[in-house]
């Protein structure tokens, strides 16, 4: 009897690509790269929303507008073999990680060339070590388990899981903080505290202290209140390495703000509050660090790229419905010998 062979897993090759190398088409200094990534996210989301308004998409979407600095500040520190688990608000994380706007757009439009063939849509994508799901908090155990698998296999990898402040309500998160701490998991929980969970302000759903919640389970925890991409990038430089080296879990809070509605048209936050936070928009902050000329060039390049991406995505066919066989039947083990 021979050991079962692990079936070919296309994404495992992808995982071997260093995410830091992915954003190749945007060469140039660090500041420009960060701006270009953020600009890509921002314009992707804006164009997506505009297409929703035009009725080109169905379902819903959660835009990342206002939080772009988090994604670029964290994910740019990851390398080949690391993995990311994200949530409903995942487009920004993904565009930094995977940098495939066409495949993402196609996914959101339910097209065959989408990241997961149109099966998942906005909240349920997967690409080369990047995973999202639409159940708040439910991704955390998977992230923990994958981080432990990598540890067991002797990989030097880190798993990053992004959660929101509202997701602090889910009990399974604490089960995982406990196990991560007991077992020494290389898991970095990045808590994007944007002050709101859907229509609910934090003070109505988070009692006590976010940081202390992690520390009480024996995790190191820290925080940064910023929408400055470089500040966040610098802040996480040591943190990601520390998790990798110490092989201990950590929770890091980024206090930020979302400048758009929760999903598509549901924003009842006080207008003054939103207005006041516009000054924190991470994009102008980063743009200032780049020459006007380079900024304009980046913006043009992003526009071109996105136009192509959306057009190409739109041109893709819907996935075929011919082979919708039950995965259970397909997955049955074959005869053994």
């Amino acid at each position: 009897m021979v050991a079962a062979e692990r079936k070919g897993q296309p994404e495992r090759d992808e995982e071997r690509i260093d995410p830091r190398a992915r954003f190749a088409q945007m060469e140039g200094p660090h500041s420009e790269k960060l701006y270009a990534q953020m600009r890509l996210i921002r314009r992707f989301e804006e164009q997506l929303l505009e297409r929703f308004d035009r009725g080109l998409l169905v379902g819903t979407t959660h835009a990342y507008i206002g939080q772009e600095a988090d994604a670029v500040g964290v994910i740019n520190h990851l390398r080949a073999g690391d993995v990311v688990f994200s949530n409903h608000r995942c487009h920004g994380h993904y565009l930094v990680w995977g940098d495939k706007p066409e495949a993402l757009a196609a996914e959101l439009m339910g097209r065959s060339g989408g990241l997961v063939g149109g099966r998942g849509g906005s909240q349920h994508i997967c690409d080369g070590g990047f995973y999202t799901n639409g159940i708040q908090g439910g991704i955390v155990p998977g992230a923990l388990g994958l981080s432990l698998a990598k540890k067991v296999r002797g990989e030097d990898a880190v798993a990053v899981v992004f959660i929101g402040d509202g997701t602090l309500g889910q009990g399974v998160l604490y089960e995982c903080l406990n196990m991560a701490s007991l077992w020494g998991a290389p898991l970095l929980v990045v808590l994007e505290d944007n002050g709101w969970a859907q229509s609910t302000p934090s003070y109505r759903e988070v009692a006590g202290s976010m940081l202390e919640r992690a520390r009480a389970f024996g995790l190191e925890a820290g925080e940064i209140e910023s929408t400055d991409a470089e500040a966040i990038y610098n802040h996480f430089e040591g943190i990601v390495e520390e998790v990798r080296q110490s092989v201990r879990p950590r929770l890091e809070v980024i206090h930020t703000y979302r400048l758009c509605h929760h999903s598509r048209s549901d924003d009842h936050r006080p207008a003054e509050e939103i207005e006041a936070r516009r000054a924190d928009d991470p994009l102008p902050k980063q743009r200032q660090r780049v020459s006007e000329e380079r900024a304009a060039a980046i913006e043009q390049a992003v526009e071109r790229r996105l136009q192509q991406a959306f057009e190409a995505a739109e041109a893709q066919p819907q996935p075929s419905v011919d082979q919708l066989d039950d995965p259970l039947l397909r997955g049955m083990p074959g005869p053994q010998s």
Binding site: G120, G121, H124, I135, Q198, R204, V321, D326, L328
Partner: protein, 346 residues
């Protein structure tokens, strides 16, 4: 024009909270102006501030809290934002709320209502489109009630909340919210002959041809009910066959009388549900047929259900996965004898 299902439910919530101060509402994002993800709860926090509990994202926890409230003399209504999240509360519902009344020798009861917006066809993808009440079939002590446009949805919710001492999963359907109620009056519902059974959770029987002529019984509940009616109409137009549609609202315990009576007349049975078939509603209907109805069967009953796949985001995939009018028609044609003229047993 009649109310929408959404309006009917929302008004019932207002009415109940007005009339009975024991009624409390618990769930996520309930406060006005948002008023809950699907707006069934709109206006309630403004009118009854102290009795609307907007919660953290803690489905297991707040369902359990509602169980405790019910034990403490309140009449809680829980809103689960998307019915898909009810699995997080499966233990609280099955091992706690549903067991207490019997396990504690009837020393307590747990008059709890958990509202579940279920169903797909809105492009929400794999974790926001499911029809999951099937997983609670056969959980002792747990009632399942599903509304549909042919019954007074608000009245049904009020019965569950104020008159029912059992824990009840109250199944709604996201696509149905915007549909209008289609009331039955004087034995008719629009162009159809209509019957509604007595009892707190009535079953509705509908027929374009009147109840004298029935070639086939099509059973469907919740979000499938209107598709069934559409299929019945097409069967009449295209095949000149009479299909009687039976729509139960009491899914657990399953109310079989109207179904059995119809099958006894028609001799042919198709059962539909929006979820995958295995261990579901249709299997239960077929297996629970009383002997007389069984004896009347002239062909093997057919199930119409979703493919055994997650519900994709892609419109094409989602449509291919979920059962539609075409699937119903096809099943009906499969079960009906190709040639025979229609039956005319009373």
């Amino acid at each position: 024009m009649s109310q929408t299902v959404l309006e009917s439910l929302n008004q019932a919530m207002h009415r109940m909270m007005q009339e009975d101060e024991r009624v409390h509402l618990i769930g996520e994002d309930l406060l006005d102006p948002y008023g809950g993800a699907f707006k069934v709860s709109r206006g309630l926090s403004t009118a009854f501030e102290d009795r609307v509990w907007t919660t953290p994202i803690s489905e297991a926890g707040f369902v359990g809290v509602a169980i405790g409230m019910a034990m403490g003399g309140l009449l809680p209504v829980v809103e689960i934002m998307f019915g898909d999240f009810v699995l997080l509360a499966a233990d609280q519902l099955i091992n706690h709320g549903a067991k207490y009344a019997w396990m504690y020798n009837e020393k307590v009861d747990v008059p709890l209502v958990v509202r579940l917006p279920m169903g797909g066809r809105r492009g929400y993808g794999p974790t926001h489109s499911q029809t999951l009440e099937k997983h609670f079939l056969g959980a002792p002590g747990l009632a399942i009630v599903a509304t549909n446009p042919f019954v007074d949805s608000g009245q049904l919710l009020e019965t569950a909340t104020r008159y029912d001492r059992r824990p009840v999963l109250f199944v709604e359907n996201k696509k149905m919210y915007a549909r209008r109620q289609r009331p039955i009056q004087g034995g008719r519902c629009e162009a159809m002959a209509a019957r509604i059974s007595a009892g707190p959770y009535p079953s509705v029987s509908l027929s374009f041809g009147g109840f004298e002529t029935a070639d086939l019984t099509l059973v469907a509940y919740g979000g499938m009910a209107e598709l069934a009616v559409e299929a019945a109409e097409r069967l009449l137009i295209e095949d000149e066959r009479y299909c009687e549609v039976v729509v139960p609202t009491s899914i657990q315990p399953l109310e079989m009388d109207a179904i059995a009576q119809s099958v006894a007349r028609s001799g042919h049975l198709v059962v539909a549900e929006e979820s995958p078939g295995a261990g579901g509603f249709s299997a239960e209907v077929i297996s629970a047929l009383p002997a007389a109805a069984w004896a009347a069967l002239r062909a093997q009953p057919q199930r119409v259900s979703a493919l055994n796949l997650p519900i994709a985001n892609s419109t094409a995939l989602e449509a291919a996965t979920l059962p539609d009018v075409g699937d119903l028609l096809e099943a009906m044609r499969r079960v009906l004898p190709a040639s025979s003229s229609r039956s005319a047993t009373g």
